[in-house]
Symmetry: C2
Subunit: 238 residues, 2 copies
């Protein structure tokens, strides 16, 4: 099946977690909004009043007749189909549970530059962003990364993956989280490789996988920038 991904064409954002799974899973897919006329197709889809199951926001995955929204929901659907998740119910629930913690973390990362909400520009909430980012660096970043490191340590398979003994979409998402944090918070992340050795080993192992490294070197990988979730604003990095 040829999947269709609908997501903003100029940022990694939440769509990147889906792109990584599609790429690492060797899926046949179109990144619709990045193609000529694709933005219009996406906006038509989002504004439609005729659709029985309207999505709230991108990313949206079209899989045959299915229209699936929410990053974690899309990954849950794709996971077993792309060989990137366990097939048993307990394993699927666990992978999804971890992905939902990634989602929560991502919201907090985004809130560091938008503490007063998404309607105001960053420049209008810079003072508040500094306060929120300071708390993020001190408390939330260690709490989440410490948790994910603990998951690696307590995984009975002891193969260095988040779920069981092989690569899953959760590992791809952890790669993206670690890469994004190093981009956005280079100072705060300076000693992170020592503090979270499992996560950094996982990051490197994912980046070196054939399909992933090929993707990361391609034009399909949009560079990090200050429009997405992970933004580098030196004043927020302490």
């Amino acid at each position: 099946m040829r999947y269709e991904l609908y997501y903003w064409p100029s940022i990694q954002g939440r769509g990147e977690f889906v792109r990584l799974a599609l790429e690492a899973g060797g899926a046949d897919y179109l990144d619709v909004a990045r193609r000529s006329g694709g933005m219009q197709s996406m906006l038509r889809l989002l504004m439609s009043e005729a659709v029985a199951r309207p999505p709230f926001a991108p990313p949206v995955l079209k899989a045959g007749k299915l229209l699936i929204a929410h990053t974690a929901n899309i990954l849950m659907y794709l996971g077993p189909r792309l060989g990137l998740a366990p097939k048993d119910e307990a394993g699927r629930l666990w992978a999804h549970q971890l992905q939902l913690s990634v989602s929560d973390f991502i919201v907090e990362v985004h809130d560091t530059h938008h503490p007063l909400g998404p309607s105001l520009y960053y420049e209008e909430q810079k003072r508040e962003a500094k306060l929120r980012a300071a708390d993020f660096r001190k408390n939330r970043l260690p709490k989440f990364l410490g948790y994910f490191e603990q998951v690696l340590e307590q995984n009975p398979a002891k193969r260095g993956y988040m779920v069981g003994g092989k690569l899953s979409y959760v590992d791809l998402s952890m790669f993206q989280v670690v890469a994004g944090l190093h981009y956005a918070y280079p100072k705060a992340m300076r000693n992170a490789a020592k503090r979270y050795p499992g996560l950094h080993a996982l990051h490197d192992r994912v980046a070196q996988r054939e399909r992933v490294s090929e993707y990361l070197a391609s034009k399909r990988r949009i560079p990090f920038n200050t429009e997405g979730i992970f933004r580098y604003y030196p004043e927020l990095d302490g």
Copy 2:
């Protein structure tokens, strides 16, 4: 099966979405932390370094050998088992997708009183909370409620439910969202019944269901208070 719910005993919070499903589904369950010695059991569970699949935070549901965390994940698991979700994959994905939009909305509701993050008290971020709450009332509240109302309108079953033609856990969550918003933002919600008639009809219908009305009148229903997600701070209500 007797389910065990682990959640903070003095607030509705995220646990309430699970409690409502357990109650409306007529499940046999223990609200562990509300029983004598239960807080210790919950903290032991959360701090355990021996568990293969550690939860990040409550709510956690114990179902036989399974330990499931994240509200939306728990509801996805319980839904078909309690007769509160479609059994086909497309229907389950759609119900879960809506629940994830509820999760996102809940985070934004919480952020109105904690824009600088969860580490500071409300009193330490009152000024910023007023700014964020103003944006919430003006932009985000109408965006989310408008979306959920649209879902009701575009549901081909036309029976007034969110998913298909019968009650699901998503309807129970919408009840909780509408009730919580009326508690926390009575002024902003004053004309909401006219603007979102479908959601309010759904709220009333859910509240009148036998098991739900019995639950709401019982001591098992913790009252809204200023420790949970929905908090009534008059200064945030404009």
